[in-house]
Amino acid sequence: MRLERPSAFDLDGPSFSALLRRDRPAAQPRPAPGVARVDEVVDHVEGTTVLALTYDGGVVMAGDRRATAGNVISKRDMRKVFEADAWSAVAISGAAGPAMELAKVFATELEHYEKIEGGPLSLDGKANMLARMVMGNLGMALQGFVVVPLFAGYDPHTGRSRIYEYDAAGGRYEERRFASTGSGGRDARGSLKARYTPGAERETALDMAIEALWDAADEDSATGGPDLVRGIYPLVTVIDAGGYREMEDEAVAARVERVIEQRQR
């Protein structure tokens, strides 16, 4: 246990990732020295479509379940949307290993801050924290392990929901309506662009999310559609005044069936 007198104005006080950097530097992923690009040597798992859209009173965040390594489907029930804290969620795209690690450290970071400071970070503060963590991955990104998250949250004080997009270098871009990322992100964005209406109801937003994932899976081989045989459906989450929650598989399945019915016409 660390008990030397800390500086009273320690700038890294409530930061978990700073604590890891200082006390456990070997625990964090870091670029391999002397290697230009790793992905040409080592097959790694990636492929994704994740998206988020705001509606009247909250935000929906959803992702497909497929992971690919080259042209092989390596996993069919992968989780790409994670609870960051009670009021926010993070979705990941890019190299699966480092991306899942990022989501885990980020969630720990938010909880760590909340416990030490006695209250949560602001929504903007959470988004900035994530930007710095993506920036910290730049060395790995240059070697081919790109990680690009999507962040969405609800501010219980103002009642507003926000989406933040990122780029591999840690750039942070706030989005008021919808955003998507991953290999099928472009197709999902096209789908959302056509259907999105500001101030929509939650039910409409859920359908829009599922349709956009369907459209992405339709065009992008690295994005998985609903797997009716195995009963694997997209992961759909909602953050609103009630906090973060995940939709039940049965509820998503019912919506997916409606989409299939519409498209068969």
Binding site: M1, F16, A27, V105, I116
Partner: protein, 225 residues
């Protein structure tokens, strides 16, 4: 002959340090932890609603302290750091109240014997399991005891503990346990300040710790009497 004008016997040294720490602790008000049917209840007499004596350490683990605020705040933060790093490196269920309590005991014991001054604090580390409760009580000198059912720490601990032992029955409800704690703290008189109340509730999701608002405390106390 070499003069040794400043010789103090080890017994005297330890006694002086213990007296010093005890005096510091005795100035503060007491904190109570009581096991109830769904977990552990913490009650502290605390006029401040932001400088807290009870707080969350990890999913199933909470911390309560009396004594010098800046000292136990430092210990609280160190505990959160150790727990979060351990949970990150291994798995969440590998973070246990016992190992945290041992770490606190070691840290306080070392400071007591080797430091320039002992910590003027007394700590509680509580952990809820699926059906049981662990209550570790750690003193300023690093001695540690595993308490059964309830414990009070702080200035008036002896009297509060005596009153609690008359009231306490295992498996009570939250409102009942809260009523006992208030009675034990107030000694029949009206309480001067507000109560800081928190629980480790095994019925909750991953994070079992929850604070009760002043309104919730008043409501529970009225329903319990």
């Amino acid at each position: 002959m070499v003069a040794m004008p400043y010789y103090v016997s080890p017994e005297q040294l330890m006694k002086d340090r213990a007296d010093y720490a005890r005096k510091g602790i005795a100035r503060g008000r007491s904190v109570i932890a009581v096991a109830y049917d769904a977990g552990v209840l913490f009650v502290a007499e605390n006029p401040s609603s932001s400088l807290r004596k009870v707080s969350e350490i990890y999913d199933r683990i909470a911390f309560a302290a009396v004594g010098k605020y800046n000292e136990f705040e430092q210990l609280r933060v160190a505990g959160i750091r150790v727990a979060d790093v351990r949970g990150y490196q291994y798995a969440r269920e590998d973070v246990t109240g016992r190992s945290l309590a041992n770490a606190y005991a070691t840290a306080l014991g070392t400071a007591f014997t080797e430091g320039s001054k002992p910590y003027e604090v007394e700590l509680l580390v509580a952990e809820v399991g699926d059906s049981d409760v662990d209550l570790f009580h750690i003193l300023y000198d690093g001695s540690i005891t595993d308490e059964e059912g309830f414990v009070a720490i702080g200035g008036d601990a002896e009297r509060v503990n005596a009153r609690l032992s008359e009231l306490h029955q295992p498996g009570s409800q939250l409102a009942t346990a809260l009523g006992w704690a208030r009675t034990a703290l107030s000694d029949g008189d009206e309480l001067a300040g507000r109560l800081e109340v928190a629980v480790l509730d095994r019925g909750r999701g991953r994070r079992k710790f929850r604070r009760l608002s002043d309104e919730a405390v008043t409501e529970a106390l009225e329903s319990g009497t």
